[in-house]
């Protein structure tokens, strides 16, 4: 990880923590803000991947995987934005679902890393488990929006802290010269 990327991750981590605290204090527009940031980030990411597919990856063996990722990201981004005006309870459910999905992906990646004897599986596994627990708790307390919001806020703070820890970790990776 470059120094610039490390600094970027620390700043982003601090923003996420601040946002988590803001959500915990009960800021009314917090959900709408989250959903807009999430939606636009996914849409921009999807468009970027689509451009990459058209200009480069379509010539690559297995390049269609990039196209599928682009379409899925774009789709989820648009869907996220469409949820901006629904009651908060649905938003929490959606965000919980998204975190649950991310958590499962993290756990699968950690399992793959174990199979490949890669050293980075512990943080992936921990992140995945916390994400899944958070999603489950959100769903359990979905009829008590205040509790669900607190859980979600705690999850955000956790994500921010993990991002900052990752930024300070010594990068250990296999590089072949």
């Amino acid at each position: 990880m470059t120094k610039l990327r490390r600094i970027g991750n620390v700043i982003l981590g601090l923003f996420i923590i601040a946002f988590g605290l803001l959500v915990a204090t009960g800021w009314d527009s917090a959900y709408t803000f989250i959903i807009h940031v999430l939606g636009f980030s996914l849409i921009l990411g999807g468009i970027r991947l689509l451009v990459y597919y058209v200009t480069m990856a379509r010539h690559m063996v297995d390049g269609r995987a990039i196209l599928y990722r682009a379409v899925i990201m774009l789709d989820i981004g648009i869907f996220s934005l469409s949820l901006a005006r629904v009651p908060a309870i649905f938003l929490v459910a959606y965000l919980a679902g998204l975190h649950g999905f991310t958590g499962i992906i993290d756990i699968l990646r950690a399992r793959e890393a174990i199979t490949m004897q890669a050293p980075n599986w512990k943080l992936n596994m921990a992140g995945g488990i916390v994400n899944v627990i958070m999603a489950v708790l959100c769903l359990i307390f979905i009829k008590e929006p205040a509790v669900a919001v607190e859980i979600y806020a705690a999850g955000l703070v956790y994500s921010g802290v993990i991002r900052i820890i990752r930024a300070f970790r010594r990068t250990q990776s296999v590089y072949i010269q």
Partner: protein, 404 residues
């Protein structure tokens, strides 16, 4: 390739080309130093950082992957480890894709001949650098010296070829990402770099996704390169390494003045013939390092002990030399030769309309722009070029006019 070929096999090639034991040692030392002359190394000896011929793992981890950072990486890796075969290759796709595709490394290209020509008359360290570059064109072919997922990625369809003829068996290679476990040729278990979906991630530089397989002389394998349109490639390292060895002998004989010319497909098979079987045995033995075998051959050829590569060997000479005498030391000559090679390759890439290695100024066409840099790079030769150009400018401007 590793120390076994860049150091010990290069010693053998140099000796077979007619060099003395001492000269052969200088050539092979220089060839091996290419894999060590990083910015960290240059900082330690107080040398110019632009002469870096490699990047260490930690340097790469902190390397920028914006336009400027990518150009820096490409200048180093394309110039010394992944020399492009055809800078004008035609391929379907846009300019961005084509530029990366054209940097795919391969042997016997015009740049390989230019590399040898650039080293002509520049001394033994320059010859050693050229030998490193030539040898790597064989080992590293099909990968590019620039970070690129669409060029350098590989897939699970990756088989090692064991045995020949009716005894041939193909075994699927299971790659792993362990930083501690050594490769296990007996079980076909090798370490490769982690898949990174970002096009310009440093993990997508060179042959990382194929692990060290291109560096093992015994390895024979078939796989799908990302750029190959689902066509399977067969890589036969023993054959490629033999070609590399014969080409090195031919190149060294040309540099020594024993051959009138060096064409991109020059091989000196006649000189190597008496040792062919011995070399083939070394190349096909399944071992992670063939240094001992090559060393034994080298010592048999010259009848002298071939010392182990010592990174410290010339450092003190360079450090303690007065500023004006540094260029005359072994490392000083190595640094100048490295800069000349990097400059030549960067210029060729730029001249082909490809900006991946950055902007390069053709000094003679641009009216002297950047001449001071060249003077720093190549010392005496450039200074005389500067004087020539100054004279030309003065002549053109007439009495009282012009300055260079």
């Amino acid at each position: 390739m590793q120390e076994d070929f860049h150091y010990y096999a290069t010693y053998c090639a140099a000796f077979l080309a007619g060099h003395t034991h001492e000269e052969s040692l200088e050539i092979c030392y220089s060839a091996q130093l290419v894999d060590l002359c990083s910015r960290s190394f240059l900082r330690r000896i107080g040398g110019p950082l632009t002469a870096a011929t490699t990047q260490l793992q930690l340097e790469l981890m902190d390397a920028r992957t914006d336009m400027i950072g990518l150009q820096d990486i490409t200048r180093i890796w394309a110039s010394f480890h992944f020399l492009p075969r055809d800078l004008y290759a035609e391929v379907r796709g846009g300019k961005r894709y084509r530029n990366k595709y054209r940097l795919i490394c391969g042997p016997c290209g015009s740049l390989a001949a230019d590399t040898v020509e650039t080293a002509k008359g520049k001394g033994l360290p320059a010859a050693g650098i050229a030998m490193h570059v030539l040898a790597d064109t064989w080992a590293h072919q099909y990968f590019a010296g620039t970070p690129s997922l669409v060029i350098n990625n590989t897939y699970t369809h990756f088989y090692e070829i064991l045995g020949e003829g009716p005894d041939r068996t193909d075994r699927q290679i299971s790659f792993r990402h362990s930083v501690t476990l050594p490769d296990d040729p007996e079980e076909s278990k090798y370490t490769n770099s982690v898949y990174q979906s970002s096009e310009n991630h440093v993990m997508n530089l060179g042959h990382g996704r194929a692990g060290h397989l291109p560096d093992y002389s015994f390895a024979r394998y078939r796989y799908l390169p990302a750029w190959g349109g689902y066509r399977e490639l067969v890589k036969d390292n023993p054959s490629d390494y033999m070609h590399a060895f014969c080409q090195m002998v031919a190149a060294l004989r040309y540099l020594k003045g024993d051959l009138p010319a060096f064409a991109p497909d020059s091989f000196d098979e006649d000189t190597v013939k008496p040792y062919e079987e011995r070399i083939r045995t070394i190349l096909t033995r399944r071992q992670l390092s063939a240094s001992e075998d090559w060393k034994a051959l080298g010592e048999e050829l010259s009848g002298r002990p071939v010392e182990a590569f010592d990174p410290e060997k010339y450092q003190e000479e360079y450090r303690s030399a007065p500023e004006e005498e540094k260029a005359g030391t072994f490392l000083g000559r190595f640094i100048q030769a490295a800069m000349t090679q990097k400059s030549m390759v960067t210029n060729r890439i730029y001249a082909s309309g490809n900006m991946l290695a950055g902007v390069s100024v053709d000094l003679r066409e641009k009216g002297g722009k950047g001449l001071q840099d060249l003077a720093d790079l190549t010392g005496q030769a450039a200074e005389s070029a500067l004087e020539d150009l100054a004279t030309q400018v003065a002549d053109t401007a007439g009495p009282g006019g012009g300055k260079a």
